[in-house]
């Protein structure tokens, strides 16, 4: 077979690929936080809390796609929110995008939080880590289970989505006491839970893992790592995780980003 008769085969529907999506809305929050909204009923219905998306701006000077956590899901409208903070060149150029611009999006990627597991749930969010829980809270509320969210940040200004969160059982913490209780998120951990989902800075995740280490609670952490492709082919985002074979370098984009806390190997 020569290499020519493939055009038709390339667009097979069963293969995943980047889709061009138009920005339908944009919000600029405080402290360099932004949200972009996209219309895609397909993606909105297949995204779960803990998934991530790879997003690329074909016009940007940056080459690689960037991984993003999605925020809220608006199922009726078929719209999902992309929530991020500007931390580098890629996010900077994303922040300058306007309604009507097109971005290439690939997803859902990674393994989501196992929300369907039974038991009392505690969600722990540190700073930007609030992102995946924005889609989890409505799901948990509907299930009528015992659940709550512990959300902490440095100061009140970096605690976001408070109006949205007002409908859910949230307890807030700030380092400086400017809102909610004063102190770190890890000071407010409860033993009376069966399932813990955490997302936030690595140090926070490590302390959460340590707290629940000898307890029967099942703990799941969403890890972050510098990514190359996001699709599992470059092995750039690997970190040490315990598997059946022993400690191996495991891809965060493919086997994660959600991992069971006991399997994560922490750096000294």
């Amino acid at each position: 077979m020569t290499g020519n008769n493939f055009s038709s085969k390339m667009e097979t529907m069963d293969k995943k690929g980047y889709t061009p999506l138009e920005i339908v809305d944009k919000r600029e929050w405080r402290e360099d936080f932004f949200s972009l909204f996209f219309h895609s009923p397909l993606l909105t219905s297949s995204l779960r809390s803990g998934h991530f998306l790879m997003v690329r701006d074909p016009d940007a000077p940056t080459l690689l796609s960037r991984p993003f956590s999605m925020g809220r899901l608006f199922h009726d409208e078929g719209i999902f929110e992309l929530f991020f903070q500007v931390v580098g060149k890629g996010t900077e150029s994303m922040a300058r995008k306007r309604v009507g611009d097109t971005l290439s999006v690939l997803g859902p990627l990674g393994n989501p939080f196992p929300l369907e597991k039974p038991g009392r749930v505690l969600l722990i969010a540190g700073g930007r880590g609030i992102s995946p829980f924005l889609s989890a809270l409505p799901v948990l509320a509907e299930s009528k289970r015992d659940y709550s969210l512990l959300y902490g940040a440095k100061t009140a200004r970096t605690l976001l989505f408070r109006p949205f969160l007002a409908d859910f059982p949230v307890s807030y913490r700030t380092d400086d006491g400017s809102f909610g209780q004063r102190g770190l998120v890890v000071d407010g951990l409860s033993r009376e839970v069966d399932l813990v989902f955490a997302c936030g800075p690595e140090k926070m995740l490590e302390r959460v893992a340590l707290f629940y280490k000898d307890l029967p609670t099942e703990v799941y952490l969403s890890l972050e790592e510098r990514m190359g492709c996001g699709t599992g082919i470059c092995y750039g985002c690997a970190r040490k995780v315990r598997t059946d074979r022993g400690v191996e370098m495991v891809r965060v984009c493919e086997e994660g980003p959600v991992f069971e806390a006991s399997r994560v190997v922490w750096d000294e």
């Binding site: 077979m1 290499g3 390339m10 293969k15 080459l63 510098r226 990514m227 492709c229 470059c234 040490k240």
Partner: protein, 305 residues
Amino acid sequence: MSDLSFSIGPLRFPNPVVLASGTAGYGYELEPYIDLDLLGGFITKGIYPAPRAGNPSPRVYETPSGMLNAIGLQGIGMVRFRDEVLPFWERYKPPLGINVAGECPEDYARVVEYLDSHPRIDFYEINLSCPNVQTGGRSPSWFPEETKGILSTLRPLTKRPLIAKLSPHARSVEEIAFAAQEAGADGVSLINTFIGLAVDLKSRRPILHNLFGGVSGPAVKPMALAMVYKVFQRVSLPILGMGGIVSGRDLLEFIVAGASGVQIGTATIVDPQAPLRILREASELLPSLGCDSLGELRGSLKPYR
């Protein structure tokens, strides 16, 4: 209909798009994104005799028009490779190349000796850029004698085509290519990544945990093209050119410089469907250049002097 095929020794590649080692895993990672049967060829992640963890993270970082990678040749080892990867590829037809790595000539030999009896393998790409103990931690691909040494050790071990993967850091890439030809290689692929460094100003630390990494992507295309041209002038071996190919135009430029086929790497990392897009663009462009086949275009660069 244009003829996009090319050959290395008796092995025929249906089209010039070959996926570069380390940029598409072992193949099954890419399966959800493209029809693997449409590829011109596939080269697997580098294999050592034993499993290898690779470097601690961070292992990747974006650079202007490119990226740095310091994966560190993470690999499952030759036994698991034979058990898991080769059976997977039995479902697909493209020529399959095994990228062989090693810390000493013995390592390379062990991998080839162990795998060669498996029927699915079509060719070997010898990764001479691995730091080797006998070169004091430097890469054999910088030294003609070392290159010859490793390839001559491997030549009697297999009848399949051996392709030497060259590093741009040799004092003279053409000299290394020539040494490979002398040692019995059937082809050369160039260029492997450039050594690069990224600095975090705030912490005064390198961004990559490993300190140095390999630079790839559009930024390196001009250097890669130059080296392909030079090597093409020096050896008669078929060349697989690589370095920043992200479009059909790029692909054909490499053919003009002297390559028989190309390898796509960084482009796939950016978009897993890129290889097939690049192939389509190239095949659409070829007739407009007045050519029916790649062969007509190959090595057709005409310098002024």
